[in-house]
């Protein structure tokens, strides 16, 4: 019994052709042009490419770090030990509330944050969200100099269930904890509104703030 015809390009050959940008193999291209099934297969791959989570734009400053976002959805692989935060304390998420999961990459090892292990300078943090009823999510970190706008928005976009947010944060070597505010909302928030809901730690039907406080190792608190 055989499922393949040796005279036709194999699936593997088509996959390599697709990954190489559909170029470099004239014989295969000629076959695809004449074969409806192989065209349908490559069309399916193109459609799957559009479904893939977009990768983040270039960072504001160069970072030679591992790409958490590209690999981001791998958080699901750690689901068995997933720690969801929705109160700022350790909390195993329940249905009906938005939640945030933090994944830490430290010294080459990635793990779901356990809610207490201190960060080290240079550790990278990725976030994944459970959106519940909210369609948008914004992430803010303390702004330098504070003033009347103490929070700097580092991300805002659609909230996609269980998908990683398209950026990473890197712990610095300054004293104090790292703090991240994750704001779920039903629509995009103006900056003034964002500042207000974070200040009030609002939790309502329209906005929901989750504060992550991550301690840092070897730094005077």
């Amino acid at each position: 019994m055989s499922t393949t015809d040796p005279t036709e390009p194999t699936t593997f050959a088509l996959d390599v052709y697709f990954a190489a940008g559909a170029e470099g193999d004239a014989k295969l291209a000629q076959h695809v042009a004449a074969c409806a099934r192989c065209r349908a297969y490559l069309g399916q791959l193109a459609a799957l490419a559009e479904e893939a989570a977009p990768l983040p734009p270039t960072a504001a400053r160069p970072q030679h770090r591992k790409p958490w976002v590209a690999a981001g959805a791998f958080v699901s692989a750690c689901a068995a030990v997933a720690l969801w935060l929705n109160t700022g304390d350790n909390y195993v998420g329940s249905k009906g509330l938005p939640a945030v999961q933090a994944l830490i990459r430290s010294a080459g090892q990635a793990s779901v944050w356990d809610g207490k292990t201190p960060l080290r300078s240079g550790d990278a943090i990725a976030l994944r969200t459970d959106c519940d009823r909210f369609s948008h999510v914004a992430v803010a970190i303390p702004a330098a100099g504070s003033g009347d706008r103490p929070w700097k928005r580092v991300f805002e976009g659609s909230c996609k269930e269980h998908e990683p947010l398209p950026f990473t944060l890197v712990a610095d070597d300054r004293p104090g904890n790292e703090q991240v505010e994750v704001v779920f909302s039903r629509a995009a928030l103006a900056d003034a509104t964002l500042q207000r809901v974070i200040a009030g730690r609002e939790r309502s039907d329209t906005t929901w703030v989750i504060t992550l406080v991550l301690p840092k190792a070897g730094v005077a608190q």
């Binding site: 393949t4 699936t11 590209a70």
Partner: protein, 170 residues
């Protein structure tokens, strides 16, 4: 704290290699959450392995690595999560012409019945050649074995399938 970004090489690799690997997982497991978990785990391992990526590496070499890893994960899944209900065969309309549909469906049916009883190397060969539609030379290359060994593994599977058919009809 500051935002960081993906490396350009990994970003490009992710865009180009995820669709074929997702399609491969769906051939075995249908459009399912399990298939997607295996895709994500495969790319987690790629990220951790830190192997050369295009343009520093040939796409074929990266695809071979992904195929190997993904097949290994899918087989582990098949053997440890055997279910009474078969994974859906919902990718029929997009299988390339090198895969013959009747034989493909038959293989999947037999795999569902026998996967937990089959040796891992035989499962690898069957998934690559009979589900994914690779040639025996390609499968041998991916499995780092000889074409003869692949033929032997496939023959063992065919014998197993024949025995199953006899058991069913008796």
């Amino acid at each position: 704290m500051a935002p960081a970004a993906a490396s350009p090489a990994f970003s490009l690799a992710y865009q180009r290699f995820v669709p074929p690997i997702r399609a491969k997982c769906q051939r075995l497991l249908g459009h399912s959450g399990e298939a997607e978990e295996i895709v994500q785990e495969t790319f987690l391992r790629l990220w951790q392995a830190d192997i050369p990526l295009p343009p520093a590496a040939e796409p074929r070499a990266v695809m071979a690595w992904l195929y190997r890893t993904c097949t290994h994960l899918a087989i582990d899944h098949l053997r440890s999560h055997w279910r009474r209900t078969r994974a859906p065969d919902d990718v029929l309309e997009t299988l390339p012409c090198s895969i013959k549909l009747d034989a493909w469906l038959n293989t999947k049916q037999i795999l569902h019945a026998l996967a937990v009883r089959m040796p891992a190397d035989e499962l690898h060969a069957v998934v690559l050649c009979r589900v994914d539609g690779l040639g025996q030379v390609e499968a041998a290359e991916l499995l780092d074995t000889s074409e003869r060994t692949v033929r032997r593994l496939l023959a063992a599977f065919d014998q197993r399938a024949e025995n199953l058919r006899r058991e069913s009809s008796s």
